[in-house]
Amino acid sequence: MQRIIYFLNRNKELILFLSLLLFCFYLNISYNQYNKSKFINSSNSFFSFFFDKKRNISKYLDLEYQNKILVEENSKLKKQLFNDNHEIVGLPKQKNFEVTATSVIKNSYNMQYNFLTVNAGSSEKIKIDNGVISSNGVIGIVDKVSEKYSRVISIINKNFLLNAKHKKTNFFGVISWNGIDPKKVQLKDIPKRANITIGDSIVTGGNSLIFPKGILVGTVESYKLDFSENYIEIEVLLSSDLRNLDSVYIINNNNFEEIISLYE
């Protein structure tokens, strides 16, 4: 007994080190593998408070650029309104979807698992699995909500998957990110017979309940056959610049719970 105590006492630093290290690995691996660990996140109000304060100071530096984006979007929407073209509806017109405008207070794009924090939370009726878009295209999906803030899984997160389609031919595929270039994502599982040219638009498909159909994701930059040689893998150049985000919109599907309950 005395020897055990002596041993423990002598190696207490090693034991402390190993137990804390195991705890870290547990958190890290449980996130990477199962996408589950939500213990660590910046959407809780203590940590977001500081990002909010920082944004209040720094938002004035970027006003000109953000104004330009908003004016461009306005003119695009006006054009749609005057031409009454139902096919390229950027935002849904039915009452199925509700749109909340908010702003990004924290953004990252240099890592493999990127997240954003936006300053709208459960008090603005934001829910988990709401979609997030900017005026140019898809940004991500809400993954954790607190009272005033919520955390968004960015489209350039290796755990992010999105149903998308080639706009001209309507072939469906899955969007994911390989972790290399924050300007490009990969669209996989498009059949070989699809007739794809460089510059075509890739839009969200209607299969997901999160995003309305037809929101722009990006354009085809290059494509090649994948290893099975039956499917095409497309490099998609993202239409929204993830490195410079300010105003974003959160989309809530009012029928989400009803449709989900059908599958349970």
């Binding site: 990002f51 794009y109 972790g179 924050p182």
Partner: protein, 167 residues
Amino acid sequence: MNKIVSNILFSIFLIFFQAMFLNHINFMSFVNPYLYIFLIIYFPLKTNRSIFILTAFLAGLIIDFFSDTHAIHAAACLCIAYFRTYYLKIFFGMAYQHQVVKFKHLEFKQNFLYLITMIFTHHLILFSLEVFSFAHLNIIFKKTISSLIFSFILVIIFFEFFIKKSR
């Protein structure tokens, strides 16, 4: 007592500076300096080692909370905090074992090797855990080396200003 309070305040400043500004530099869209490990590298030598390891872990965990990374900073800080004793033994030898090493009186040459090893270990563990795949070894090394240069420059500037100056 006074010194402990000022050290704690300086650590809090470093962590906030890291979380608020340095994490958002993103030079060439992936390079960030990691200055906050300054407080682990130059943590007072005579502190109890268990307390030192716990402090390093906490500092890493706070950075993790700010940057939404899943305990990778905590793990990397923990490792360099644990390995620091052995690195000090290697680089300062007898002087460290007789407890006469003082960071204030370090020569640039000695300091250089010690710093590079500590920062390299930290960044290597950090980015290996972040990328978490052997298929992307090139990304790990690219990020490690480029961030190493920036972190090193910042840490050496802070060293000259805050530790050398107080001599």
